[in-house]
C-alpha cells in the first residue's frame, strides 16, 4: 500500500500543480465558455435549417442538440488541437534537459501532464455550459442521458476517450523530436483528426464508406463514442463493439507512442548549448 502511494505521488503532484495553474487563468476560462456557447448555438441553428428540409437524418434532432452541447462543454477534453506549449518548448528549445533529469519515465510524465491539462480545463469550463444548455427552451435543450446505463457508458468511454486523445497528442510530441518544427505535424494531425473524430459533423451524417473508415479510426474513439452513447444514438452490442475498438486503439497508441519517445530519447539532442 505504501509502495503504491509512493509510486502514485509524483503523478498526483503533477495533476495538482496543473489545476493550480489553470485556476489562475480565470479570464481565459470565461472567454472559452462564451466562445464555446456561441459556437454550439451556431452549429445547432445550422443543423436546424438542415432538419427543416425534411431530409432523412441518422440522429434525432434532440440527440444532435445534446451531442453538440456536450461537445462544446467538454471541448478541452477531446479536441486534438489542444497542445501543451511547455512540452513543445521543452523539445524545441532544449528544456528537455531538466525533464530527463527527473527520476520518472518521460512518456508517463508527459502523458500525465496532458491528461491533467485537459481535465483541469474541461472541469473549469463545462459547468456553466451544461447548466445553460439544460435550461434552454425545448428543441434546443440538452436532454438527460438516455438511460442510467447510457450515463455509465458515457462516463467510461469519455474517460477512455480522454486517454486516447492524450495518447494521440503524445504521438505528435514524439514526432516533434524528429521534425523540430512542430507546426507541420500539428496542423496535419488537427485537420485530419477534426474531420474523422466527428468534431465538425457527427459521424452518422457521413456517407456510408467514409463513415466506416472514420468509425474504425482512432479519432472516432475520442468524442464520437461517449457523446453518441449519452444520447442513446449508440447502444447495446454496437456500443460494446466500439468500446473494444476504443480499447484496442488506446493500447496500440500507448505502445506506439512509448516506442517513439524511447527512440527519440536515445537520439535526443539538447537544443541550444
Amino acid at each position: 500500500m505504501k509502495k503504491l502511494r509512493s509510486s502514485v505521488r509524483p503523478y498526483a503532484a503533477l495533476f495538482r500543480l496543473r489545476f493550480v495553474r489553470e485556476l489562475q487563468y480565470r479570464a481565459a476560462a470565461l472567454a472559452g465558455v462564451a466562445t464555446q456557447f456561441v459556437w454550439g448555438a451556431m452549429e445547432i441553428l445550422l443543423f436546424r435549417a438542415f432538419y427543416e428540409t425534411g431530409a432523412e437524418t441518422p440522429m434525432t434532432f434532440s440527440q444532435l442538440v445534446t451531442y453538440e452541447w456536450l461537445q462544446q462543454a467538454f471541448l478541452a477534453l477531446f479536441m486534438l488541437w489542444f497542445w501543451d506549449a511547455d512540452i513543445i518548448e521543452c523539445i524545441t528549445k532544449g528544456n528537455i534537459a531538466y525533464e530527463l533529469a527527473r527520476p520518472m519515465g518521460l512518456y508517463r510524465m508527459w502523458f500525465t501532464r496532458v491528461v491533467a491539462q485537459r481535465l483541469s480545463r474541461a472541469l473549469l469550463r463545462c459547468v456553466p455550459i451544461l447548466l445553460v444548455a439544460s435550461l434552454l427552451p425545448s428543441p434546443y435543450r440538452m436532454t438527460l442521458p438516455a438511460s442510467p446505463l447510457a450515463f455509465l457508458g458515457f462516463l467510461l468511454t469519455a474517460f477512455l476517450g480522454l486517454l486516447v486523445v492524450a495518447a494521440l497528442t503524445m504521438l505528435v510530441y514524439g514526432l516533434t523530436f524528429f521534425t523540430m518544427s512542430p507546426g507541420g505535424v500539428r496542423i496535419f494531425a488537427a485537420a485530419v483528426a477534426e474531420l474523422l473524430s466527428g468534431a465538425v459533423v457527427p459521424l452518422p451524417f457521413f456517407p456510408e464508406k467514409l463513415r466506416l473508415i472514420a468509425e474504425l479510426s482512432p479519432f472516432a474513439a475520442v468524442q464520437n463514442l461517449p457523446l453518441r452513447i449519452y444520447s442513446g444514438n449508440l447502444a447495446g452490442t454496437e456500443a460494446l463493439v466500439f468500446l473494444l475498438v476504443q480499447l484496442f486503439w488506446l493500447l496500440a497508441l500507448w505502445a506506439l507512442g512509448g516506442g517513439l519517445i524511447r527512440r527519440a530519447q536515445r537520439r535526443v539532442v539538447v537544443q541550444g548549448g
Partner: protein
C-alpha cells in the same frame, strides 16, 4: 565517485550554405557535418571534491555534464557514478544527483516557487519532515524567505538562480552538477552563490562539478581544474599546480614619467600606454628583483606594483598554448 572512461560523442549537424539555390538543393539532398563534441574524455572524481570544468565555448563542457546527468547517451565509452551508469540506469541515477543549467529554468513559470518545490518533493519522493528541514536550511542559506511565494516569472535573475540551486538540492543529492550557475548574475549574487556552495561542500560533503567562464568562481571554489578543448581533456590538476607549472608568473605594473622599455629574457610587455606599462615576468628566467632593477635603470619610475598573474590571464594563455 565519478569515473569516465574514453567517452565519445559525435553530433550530426545538417550542413546548409547560405543562398536560395543551396537551400533548394539541400531540400532534396541533406548533407551533414560530423562534429566530434567529445573525443575520448576520461577522468575520475572522488567523493566530496569540487571540480572546476573549464574550456572555451563549444569545447564539450556541457556535453560532458549532460552525459554525466543521464540526459545524453554517448556513442562510446563508459561512465559510472556511484555504481550506476547515467544513461542505462537513468531513473535511479538521477535520483542521486542534482543539476542546475544556468541558461534554463526548472521552475514552473506561472506558479509560486513554493509550488514548484512541492512538485519536486513529490517527484523525488522526499518525506515531508525531511523536506521541511532541507527547505528551512536552504531558505536560510540562500535567503529565499521573501521570494518563495512569488511566481517564478516575477523573480530577478539573481533571485531565480538562488531558487534554481535550491530546487536542485531539495532531495539532498550526493553529487551536484552546475552548468554555468553564475551566468549573467551581478557581483553580489555571484558571491552569494559561491558562499553557498562553499557551505554546501563543507557541511554535506557534496561532490560538485562546476562549469563556468568566470574564473573567480573557479578560484573561489575549485580544488581541481579540468581543462577541456576540442573534446579532449588537456589539463588536470589543482589550481596551485597549474600556477606552478605555468611558471607562477608575476604581473608587473609600472607608472613611469618616461624612459625606454627594457628588453630582457623573461620579461614580456603586455600593454604600453603613456605613463603606464604592464609586464609579465617569468621568475624562472628572470628574478623579479632583476626585472625591477632593469626597469629602474631605464625609466623614471613613479610607482610599481607586483601581483600574481590572474587566473583569467593564465587560462587565456592555456587556451592559446593548446590552440583551443
Amino acid at each position: 565517485m565519478i569515473a569516465l572512461r574514453n567517452i565519445q560523442k559525435t553530433f550530426r549537424v545538417p550542413k546548409r550554405e547560405a543562398g536560395f539555390g543551396r537551400a533548394a538543393r539541400s531540400f532534396f539532398r541533406r548533407e551533414y557535418t560530423e562534429i566530434r563534441a567529445l573525443d575520448g574524455v576520461s577522468f575520475t572524481v572522488p567523493d566530496g571534491q569540487t571540480v572546476g570544468y573549464i574550456g572555451p565555448n563549444g569545447a564539450g563542457k556541457s556535453s560532458t555534464v549532460k552525459i554525466m546527468s543521464g540526459i545524453l547517451t554517448p556513442d562510446g565509452g563508459e561512465c559510472e557514478i556511484d555504481g550506476l551508469c547515467p544513461w542505462r540506469d537513468r531513473k535511479k541515477h538521477v535520483a542521486n544527483i542534482g543539476v542546475v543549467f544556468g541558461q534554463r529554468s526548472q521552475l514552473w513559470w506561472d506558479v509560486p516557487v513554493a509550488d514548484s518545490f512541492a512538485l519536486l518533493r513529490d517527484i523525488y519522493g522526499v518525506e515531508e519532515a525531511r523536506f521541511q528541514k532541507t527547505l528551512r536550511e536552504l531558505t536560510e542559506l540562500l535567503e529565499l524567505d521573501e521570494i518563495l511565494k512569488t511566481p517564478a516569472r516575477m523573480l530577478s535573475l539573481g533571485q531565480r538562480m538562488r531558487c534554481e540551486i535550491a530546487a536542485s538540492l531539495l532531495h539532498e543529492p550526493k553529487t551536484l552538477f552546475l552548468d554555468e550557475p553564475t551566468i549573467g548574475l551581478d557581483a553580489s549574487s555571484k558571491i552569494a552563490v559561491r558562499e553557498f556552495l562553499k557551505t554546501l561542500r563543507r557541511e554535506k560533503n557534496t561532490t560538485i562539478i562546476l562549469t563556468t567562464h568566470d574564473m573567480a568562481d573557479i578560484e573561489a571554489l575549485a580544488e581541481r581544474i579540468l581543462l577541456i578543448g576540442k573534446g579532449k581533456i588537456l589539463l588536470d590538476g589543482s589550481f596551485e599546480e597549474l600556477r606552478k607549472r605555468h611558471g607562477g608568473k608575476k604581473l608587473l605594473t609600472a607608472v613611469v614619467d618616461g624612459g625606454t622599455v627594457p628588453v630582457r629574457e623573461g620579461l614580456v610587455l603586455l600593454e604600453q600606454k603613456p605613463g603606464l606599462w604592464r609586464f609579465s615576468v617569468d621568475p624562472a628566467l628572470l628574478p623579479v628583483s632583476d626585472a625591477i632593477e632593469a626597469l629602474a635603470a631605464l625609466a623614471q619610475l613613479r610607482d610599481l606594483t607586483v601581483e600574481d598573474e590572474s587566473l583569467e590571464a593564465l587560462v587565456l594563455s592555456l587556451y592559446r598554448e593548446f590552440r583551443v
